[in-house]
Amino acid sequence: MKGLIHIACFASSLLLGLGLVLPAISITPGFAELDPLVKLIKPEFGRFTSHSFISIISTLFVDGYYFLSGLLFVFSVLFPLWKLGVVWKACFEIADEQFTSSRSFRLTGFLGKFSMLDVLVLAILVVVLKGLPGGGQIEIGPGAWAFGVSVFLSILAQSLLVKLSK
């Protein structure tokens, strides 16, 4: 089980980096009947765009949405890194048979639920935009998958650690 925890921690850390930088959402605008006109007059409006979590956070910050970008930065970048640090620490402690469920370890378990917040927001966005007229296309990119799997693996590692410590 210790090996599985180590693999989960390693994969989760690597996937976190991938998830933050790879495109998380791709949008191809559609204008229904006016599509040919828009493509001719303002081709930049119809251009395919993709965003990663990092680019979403930086765009929000540049556009003046400081609270939202700060919130996303804390829960998508800082918190997952801190959480992985705590889990890695616990891994090392278990190897040395010195593991004690610390306050920060318990706190990561509680706050871990909020890590999936951005994935949930993306899912809602996809559902909402798919219902809009115009034939625009929106797709979840590999960044969202990588981020989601990273969060899942960190939760798995943590629950295995709790099980192991009992």
């Binding site: 996937l15 980096g17 991938l18 933050l20 930088v21 009947e33 599509d35 006109l37 890194l81 640090g85």
Partner: protein, 191 residues
């Protein structure tokens, strides 16, 4: 050693996440190069396209003549697009200019006033609709409009579909009278 053991768990996720981010960055870079190469793709055979003239520049005087107009004024430029021996598009006339510029959409108010009350977005697009077929070409013929007599051919050029790209196509020094032509090629949206 104890200090190293204490800091390693905190540094490890950062290092691994950084490695993952670097991998993703390299992947994104490769992808973006591919996208920029694809911004001016060639025409796909069998598909329909709009061919639009956005700019025509004529020489300061026509071949074999001293002036475009008897009164010394600049030419009145219009363009015809021919495909499969048929004139499929005729532009509006741009008066007294050596550089004619056309917008991609025009609304014919006269036909609207005459009772043609329905108009679709397709009707606004001022261009020729063609189907890209291998080996086929379109001919652009630029004229100096003469309301009293025959229109003078200022220059012409034949373009094979395989030589055109989606987006803006700039062509220079095509014939003695024709200095510059800019053609806009765009895909016809399906459905």
């Amino acid at each position: 050693m104890a200090k190293f053991k204490k800091t390693l768990p905190l540094v490890l996720p950062i290092l691994l996440a950084f490695a993952g981010a670097s991998l993703a960055y390299v992947f994104n870079e490769k992808n973006s190069i591919k996208v920029s190469k694809e911004t001016q793709p060639g025409l796909e055979l069998g598909k329909d396209y709009y061919i639009q003239i956005s700019l025509v520049e004529l020489a300061s005087k026509p071949e074999g003549k001293s002036t475009w107009d008897k009164l010394g004024s600049a030419p009145d430029i219009y363009v015809e697009i021919k495909w499969r021996e048929n004139i499929i598009f005729k532009s509006s006339v741009k008066s007294d200019t050596l550089i004619g510029v056309w917008s991609q959409t025009e609304l014919d108010l006269q036909s609207l006033a005459m009772g043609d009350t329905t108009i679709s977005p397709d009707d606004l697009i001022k261009g020729a609709r063609v189907s890209a077929v291998e080996g086929e070409s379109i001919a652009l013929q630029v004229y100096d409009y003469d309301p009293l007599g025959a229109n003078d051919l200022a220059g012409s050029v034949e373009l094979v579909f395989s030589s055109l790209n989606i987006g803006k196509n700039k062509l220079n020094d095509l014939s003695p009278g024709l200095r510059r032509v800019e053609i806009l090629v765009s895909e016809v949206s399906e459905g």
